[in-house]
Symmetry: C2
Subunit: 334 residues, 2 copies
């Protein structure tokens, strides 16, 4: 089942069911006004949502055209957004840039608590104050959870995965060092994260959902140029079940918690531009670190005003089940 | 005006108006079902809430007994919980303990993004898995905000303060070092924060709300023993308006954001026990660091099973406008 949140002028938007081919949608507001309320009573409401989805896909309901630019984030405001770092290759590359933190360990996942009160839809602008902040994207896979008890078993973690999508964890690299030196973690350097136009239930992915990992390629492009297409199941050291268990080590997680798997990264020694069968990167800072490692100029620029970033997960069957993130950069100078 | 959230079996609880003397309350659910929905439409709903408050205080409405043990957190789940550190004395004392981070600066406030999906009511237990986590309390003042635009002016920040209360930022000291070494900030070391049984509008504080600071003493007790009563307006280097401006430097803040001022601390060279006119501490780790500095045994223990923590802000008139936090520790061993 595919779901989306349509902009209806309210803070939480309107819940909609989207057809498998992403061409049509229909309001689900008679079942639940918005996605959070559906997640609050998921087991009770799931049969009715699934029934509506079946009718839409069988064309028993005509629905209306699905227009991704009219979506908000699946949860325009969420009670929790946790971003983990399950691809240690990303951590290794980025930390080489800063040179100040310990090497990543593969014993336990690390994660940060992100701001969740203001999340962006798939085609909403990345608004930044000033053009000197080293604006970067980070392409990731994220899951949305049901209630998770404190210190959960693996089964409890597995059963808590309600929905899956892709996201863009927007980063202001110029502010990362200051945030980390303060010792309290990312704050100013991580403004609003953007999410795919649709979220899907695990069964919707079929063979592309494998033991808590999404299997396929996460394509990212800047101004149409392919920057990366690493495989999402490869080198994901901790699957989402492990990440959930780690996140809930000392706390309950409430329904609607969004958990990111971290910037997707596969090991290679390429630099940009990559060929059509290259692997590439899921963020600009990694591309720049690869250039540095190759003794080349750090020529890949950070994002600037009017740049376009697109992020799309593609299965081995060529499907893009989460639709596409397509954002423009809008710099405001004082 | 004083408001509270009563436990009615729902995730967000029921909005209630509480009398000035904290003895009676009446449901406000005909105006807004819960506090978040009131904050979402604050200017529209404020006159009706204030009218209800006036009737309750004039005894035009009898109401029912206000029972703090039946309250949930004002926002049992919030879209954002940011905790700043405006009392640099606290940072200096605590960082001496860890010895690993740079000295705090007074140029800009530092803050972390806390977990907000699961917040505790004033008399809900502090549940901890295991008794070896060096459980500590942190007594703080917190404000709840309306919508704040990105990069706000001081006036915009001032006008965004909707409600004020006290809180207990529960901390697992044994996990702080590991969290900070991971470089992503506090996570496992900061489980659910607890809040006062009532939240009040700034005007309700009268002379005790002074230029973005609450003026009075924040008393904290463990098992009835006075651990601290520092003055909240003293040595608060950044007032709440400055903290709001800093928090919104690169992001919008949405209505319902909770912002803590940090552990309240005044400079002195006391150790526990303090006299009835002593200053003391707003957390245990500071008391232990003072013992170390005085070449005394670090004898003040961290919290253990069945310990009771109480936190109460008291004005110079002897009022306790936010009521009292009274929590018991409940350790679960596997």
């Amino acid at each position: 089942m595919k779901l989306a949140t349509l902009d209806n002028g309210t803070r939480d938007g309107q819940l909609a069911i989207v057809s498998k081919d992403l061409k049509r949608c229909t309001s689900a507001s008679a079942i639940a006004p918005n996605l959070q309320s559906a997640l609050d009573s998921w087991s009770d409401l799931y049969p009715a949502l699934e029934d509506l989805s079946r009718k839409l896909n069988q064309a028993d309901i005509a629905g209306k055209a699905f227009e991704p630019h009219l979506t908000l984030a699946p949860l325009p405001r969420a009670y929790q957004w946790i971003d983990a770092s399950a691809y240690l290759t990303h951590l290794q590359r980025v930390r080489a840039a800063k040179g100040s933190l310990q090497n990543p360990q593969d014993e336990k996942p690390i994660m940060y608590q992100g701001g969740s009160d203001h999340l962006l839809g798939a085609e909403q602008d990345i608004e930044v104050n000033g053009d000197d902040l080293a604006l970067d994207y980070e392409a990731e896979i994220a899951v949305i959870l049901g209630d998770v008890p404190k210190n959960p078993t693996e089964d409890e973690a597995r059963n808590a995965v309600r929905l899956i999508t892709q996201c863009n964890d927007v980063s202001l690299r110029r502010l990362v060092a200051a945030d980390l030196q303060d010792g309290f973690g990312f704050f100013h350097s991580k403004p609003a994260t953007a999410f795919g136009p649709v979220v899907v239930t695990p069964d919707e992915l079929g063979a592309a959902w494998q033991d808590g990992r999404v299997a396929g390629q996460l394509q990212s492009r800047v101004n149409g140029l392919l920057y990366g297409q690493p495989r999402t199941e490869k080198e994901m050291v901790f699957n989402f079940y492990r990440l959930i268990q780690a996140a809930a080590q000392t706390r309950h997680l409430r329904a609607g918690t969004i958990l990111g798997g971290g910037t997707v990264a596969n090991t290679h020694d390429e630099i940009l531009p990559i060929s059509s069968d290259g692997v590439g990167f899921s963020c600009i800072v990694e591309a720049r670190m690869a250039e540095k490692a190759a003794d080349t100029d750090q020529r890949t620029p950070f994002l600037k005003d009017k740049d376009q970033v697109s992020i799309q997960f593609v299965t081995d069957d060529g499907d893009a089940p989460f639709g596409e993130i397509k954002q423009s950069v809008a710099v405001k100078t004082a």
